[in-house]
Amino acid sequence: MASSVFYKFKSRKDESRVNFDGTGISVFDLKKEIILANNLGKANDFDLCIYDNSSNEVELKDDSHIIPRSSSVVVKRVFAKPGKGKAAMYIAGSSSAGASGATLEPSKSTAGANGSYSWHRGNMSKRFDGKEDVPTGPKAT
């Protein structure tokens, strides 16, 4: 059965969800799904930060951290120097590329499958470890 995690952009009234199979989703995969579902992949001047839903909103910085299904998180789009935004990194790797922890259950996504990201061609199978700088994405023309 499909599982969900609910997310809400900090400034937004309503919640959205990401669906996946398994008991949890990594922070990496959740970011990837949110980027795809909202077609954010083209912009290279922001980072997505995910916070737990507690009153003091602790940022979930570890991309391999697993968020259990049915939880709710808060998402913020924060400014990054143009070209330094990491969105492309999240949608470039395969879903396991960012999760260094081998315990991650494969989480196949259903959200954002129709996102238009045809612009990224070429060297997109490269592995990213979440720390290195991403090369500037191709310019939209």
Binding site: R12, N39, R77
Partner: protein, 471 residues
């Protein structure tokens, strides 16, 4: 430290960039947001200012300077999708801006609904529009205790204004986009009669010098004429409203004087603009004396003699593209999609044709990329098209150049200057040039160029803050 009130200025957009203007002012418990635009190089949520940084229910006032999308198009999202309405916030813009914003946004929502990137629905748009309070230039408005503001004419486009804002005695002038040269239909920006403490000013052209209006118009009409003479088509990518009206006034007059051009059609490809002509005719009284006196003589300059609308049928772009030489004003100005993009793709391979870029071209758009005159351009479908058509840039963008901006900045005479709405380099050069001017006169003026989300905190001494905020 004693209780020294601090003015915090945070840019959610347009910090060292052009696009998605959104400036948050916080002082003595009041929060005022100037402009709420989108970034034209992006679509959907990626185009919004960094709105997650603000609790929108705490906002007292949103002020919109003019109808351009990079200043106004995020407003609907903010009023309808955030918790803005949980608070007591009010939204203001001038009467003509409100009238034109409505048409611009109806078009924006139509364009967006065909993609997966729609930011809001037509229903949400009408809700947002209904909540806008229209104001007039020079009116003094008190939106909430402790705050007043007054709009002043900014030139630029019909309805554009600057806001002089007073929060508990502290005065801030936010210019938005402005021009200091009277053009064919608008008055130039005014210098407000009161000296503000802080000036937040656009810096689009940095230290560039732009040519004067007459030279510029002459170069433009000659270029158009030359392209026609060589048997080509002229593409003028422009937004439907704003500078397009100025270009139409220039072309209509030029055609009148050149009978050899009378069989060459000028097409204005915009049903949006057709609707908005009524707004232009309604607000003749806010335009300059040239327009007003013609109108008084029953010569309405906005009733054009040589401009035709394009046929309403599907595929008109191809029909016109394959027809005889002509001039087409088509939107959008950045050629990211739509009619202007389609015509460009059709005309690019023929060297007789020409495209003239008449506005400021934002980074990341085709209008900007084509200025390097690449051998090929990528079509929207993804294949490469040879580019042989000529590319020229003649800016009718109606922003101040260096001499106009520096003169205005000095006339306003604020102690703190915050540069916004400029690319990093342009802004850096402007700051250096202004600093030199002040240094040579031994004046202590601070010039700031904050990045997005980099909060600027300013404190003011003494009598300025004596007036307490009412409640």
């Amino acid at each position: 430290m004693a209780d020294v009130p601090t003015l915090s200025i945070m840019l959610l957009g347009a910090g060292q960039e052009v696009g998605r203007s959104c400036c948050v002012l916080q002082y003595r418990g009041r929060t005022i947001v100037c402009d709420a635009g989108v970034h034209p190089a992006y679509s959907g949520i990626a185009s919004l200012p960094f709105i997650d940084e603000l609790d929108w229910s705490t906002v007292d006032v949103i002020l919109i300077t003019h109808f351009h999308l990079d200043h106004a198009a995020a407003l609907t999202y903010i009023t309808e999708k955030t918790n803005f309405r949980d608070g007591k916030g009010k939204v203001y813009m001038t009467h003509p801006t409100k009238a034109l914003h409505k048409f611009m946004m109806q078009d924006f929502v139509r364009m967006g609904s065909s993609s997966t990137d729609a930011l809001f629905s037509p229903m949400e748009l009408s809700m947002s529009l209904a909540s806008i309070i229209p104001v007039s230039a020079h009116q003094v408005i008190s939106p909430c205790p402790g705050v007043t503001f007054t709009p002043y004419h900014a030139g630029h486009v019909l309805g554009a204004c600057m806001f002089l804002i007073d929060i508990a005695g502290l005065k801030i002038l936010y210019t938005g986009d402005y021009s200091r040269e009277e053009d064919r239909h608008l008055v130039k920006a005014e210098v407000p009669p009161i000296r503000p403490d802080v000036l937040i000013v656009e810096s689009t052209f940095g230290v560039q010098t732009l040519e004067g209006r007459e030279e510029k118009e002459l170069r433009f009409t000659n270029l158009v004429h030359n392209i026609i003479r060589r048997g080509g088509h002229v593409l003028l990518p422009t937004f439907a409203l704003g500078r397009a009206q100025e270009l139409l006034l220039i072309l209509d007059e030029y055609w009148k004087k050149h009978p050899d051009l009378h069989n060459v059609p000028i097409y204005y490809a915009s049903s949006l603009a057709r609707k908005c002509m009524a707004v232009y005719q309604t607000y003749i009284h806010t335009m300059n004396s040239n327009v007003r006196s013609r109108f008084a003589k029953r010569d309405n300059p906005f009733v054009f003699k040589h401009i035709s609308n394009v046929p309403h049928s599907r595929g008109w772009e191809r029909k016109i593209a394959e027809g005889p030489p002509c001039v087409v004003l088509a939107s959008p100005g950045f050629m990211t999609n739509g009619p202007s993009r389609e015509l460009l793709e059709l005309w690019a391979p023929d060297s007789r044709n020409g495209v003239i870029l008449t506005g400021y071209s934002i980074e990341g758009t085709l209008a900007r990329d084509i200025q390097t005159e690449p051998d090929e351009v990528q079509s929207l479908k993804g294949h490469m098209i040879p580019r042989k058509l000529s590319v020229d840039e003649i800016s009718f963008g109606a922003h101040v150049d260096y001499s106009q901006n520096s003169e205005f900045i000095e006339a306003v005479n604020a102690q703190h200057i915050v540069l916004v709405h400029g690319e990093q380099n342009a802004m850096g050069r402007l700051r250096a040039a202004m600093q030199d001017r002040y240094k040579s006169r031994d004046e202590d003026v601070k010039i700031h160029t904050p990045r997005n989300l980099e909060a600027l905190e300013l404190t003011f001494r003494g009598e300025r803050v004596a007036k307490a905020i009412g409640n």
